[in-house]
């Protein structure tokens, strides 16, 4: 009984029994808790819910690359509640970002002071083709957790803004939309891309109207900061497109929606813009645009 051959045979027998039981039980398990179609892919099976954490870590890694390695660790206070607006928008609060990134205070002791020779201690951002270095991490993040739409938004932003590859940016956003159907953020980014890169006002306005129409009832029922922000951005872009097309009436109507739903962070600016657009309707057209 103790010879290796019998042990191997026993193991093989055990595997066969386990396989037989598994095939017999699987239909019952399927009835009790059916598997979703996505769960069959290898990454889902391997990582389970940990893939959300891993994808977030990979997006953070892209941020580290964007700052050329200068990044707060979990031991620095700046690591808490960091925003990622600087990663996918030109309109981030530069002052707040600088404050976030000044996490390296004066050296506390000689070891701290001397150790700073051996790691990046200067805050800078990548520019131009250098920014391509962040893309592998974002693509890994999107592969691991396709439901995290942030990776698609950030990737598309850099692909078109610094790397001048709008076609690839669009393809990647559409890939994101396949994994996140009707996601308003992705649809907004797609509309922005169609307008800014191809001046395709038809597709852009259609997409933006879809975003506004899908978010309006949600905001009316239960306001959510993310939805409010994307609604506001979509409305501003749509109003801008209408203004460019000299359709001032539609632009005013869109901006009024942001006031009605209270989504504008600065309603007085929107009100001022509406008055300006109303004047255009009666007065001579100007080239001023909505910011």
């Amino acid at each position: 009984m103790h010879n290796p051959r019998s042990i191997i045979l026993l193991i093989i027998l055990g595997i066969c029994i386990e396989f037989t039981i598994a095939t017999a039980l699987d239909p019952f398990i399927q009835q009790i808790s059916p598997r979703k179609a996505t769960s069959v892919d290898l990454i889902h099976v391997l990582f389970g819910n940990a893939r959300e954490l891993l994808a977030n870590h990979l997006i953070k890694k892209a941020d580290v690359y964007f700052h050329a390695g200068y990044y707060p660790s979990i031991f620095h206070e700046a690591a808490q509640a960091r925003t990622r607006n600087h990663l996918h928008s030109e309109e981030y609060d530069e002052h707040a970002h600088e404050k976030e990134m000044s996490f390296l205070s004066k050296p506390k002791d000689i070891i701290d002071r001397f150790g700073r020779y051996f790691y990046p201690t200067e805050h800078r951002h990548l520019h131009g083709h250098e920014t391509a270095e962040i893309l592998p991490w974002l693509k890994f993040a999107a592969s691991i957790n396709p439901q995290n739409f942030e990776s698609y938004v950030i990737t598309a932003f850099w692909l078109r803004r610094e790397l001048h590859k709008p076609d690839q940016a669009e393809a990647f956003l559409r890939e994101g939309l396949k994994a996140n159907p009707n996601n308003p953020t992705l649809l907004y980014e797609l509309a922005r891309l169609r307008w800014e890169e191809y001046a395709d006002s038809l597709k852009a306005t259609n997409l933006l109207h879809y975003v506004l129409n899908s978010l309006r009832p949600k905001i009316q029922q239960k306001p959510n900061p993310e939805q409010i922000e994307i609604f506001h951005r979509a409305a501003i872009l749509l109003a801008h497109i209408y203004e460019q097309q000299r359709d001032f009436k539609s632009a005013v109507s869109i901006l009024q929606q942001t006031l009605e739903l209270n989504t504008a962070p600065k309603p007085e600016v929107i009100q001022q813009k509406i008055e300006e657009l109303n004047q255009h309707e009666v007065g001579p057209p100007t080239t001023q645009t909505c910011k």
């Binding site: 390695g69 031991f75 506390k108 002791d109 790691y119």
Partner: protein, 260 residues
């Protein structure tokens, strides 16, 4: 000196015979090549992510190779009772320790050079790699770091009863220093007394291995650290290695050669 060289020669030959190095190298090469074959939006010149992943694998592999090689030297000589004829040559216990240390360190050095050569071929064949001066400094400091780690593992081998315990503890300690050693002062500040003083004492006492880790500077294409600073950490590494080897010698000269 020739006795030390002879002992170290035997340790280096052990590296060829054992499979650890080959397995770790093939694994590192496979993962690096697999990562390198991925296509990211049609840009084949991206090297940052490959360098980062490969350097992480190199550090892990060399930690394993250096610690497992060094930790087994003295216990295996004692277990096989080959230590008795070895010391009857005559070789002093100090020479034996030095021979084992230099052999283990050089074995790790050979492995390190193979790994870094492979990485250099991969990254510079793809596009603009890191600054060469930073890369060379990174290799140099990694080499000094391996000396400290090897000395630590040799030191552990005269204190722990089994090589497995020594390997595990040395791996945990070096990994902990490499990952949180730099932040112990920040951690100490947040703690009440007496924990604050204890953490500060650890912070000042440990060898700061994180200084030798230039991965961030290599990956993000930063210039090298000032060369005088590299000189200072080389000296610092030499002192720490000497301390560990002296402790080993002090302990080993009072230890019976054969376990009862």
């Amino acid at each position: 000196m020739h006795k030390i060289i002879a002992i170290s020669g035997v340790v280096i030959k052990e590296l060829y015979r054992r499979k650890d190095f080959y397995v770790l190298f093939v694994l590192t090469a496979l993962i690096t090549l697999l990562m390198g074959s991925a296509n990211f939006f049609g840009d084949a010149s991206l090297v940052g992510y490959i360098t980062e992943i490969a350097l992480l694998l190199i550090w892990i592999s060399l930690l394993v190779i250096s610690i497992s090689t060094a930790a087994r030297q003295i216990p295996s000589e004692r277990e096989n009772r080959t230590i008795l004829p070895l010391l009857a040559k005559p070789v002093t216990r100090g020479q034996l320790i030095m021979g084992k240390f230099i052999g283990s360190w050089l074995a790790a050095t050979i492995a390190m050079l193979v790994f870094y050569l492979f990485l250099a071929l991969i990254i510079w064949s793809r596009g603009e790699g890191p600054k060469i001066s930073t890369y060379i400094q990174g290799i140099w400091l990694h080499w000094v770091c391996l000396a400290i780690i090897t000395a630590m593992a040799i030191c552990g081998s005269v204190f722990f009863s089994a090589p497995s315990a020594n390997i595990t503890i040395t791996l945990i300690v070096t990994s902990a220093i490499l990952t949180v050693g730099r932040y112990l002062n920040l951690l100490a500040e947040q703690k009440p007394e007496p924990f604050q003083s204890i953490i500060y004492a650890i912070y000042y006492a440990i060898p700061h291995l994180e200084w030798y880790d230039l991965r961030d500077s290599i990956v993000h294409k930063h210039p090298p650290a000032p060369w005088w600073a590299a000189g200072v950490v080389t000296l610092y590494g030499t002192v720490y290695s000497a301390i560990f080897l002296t402790i080993t010698w002090l302990r080993f000269k009072r230890t019976p050669l054969i376990n009862a």
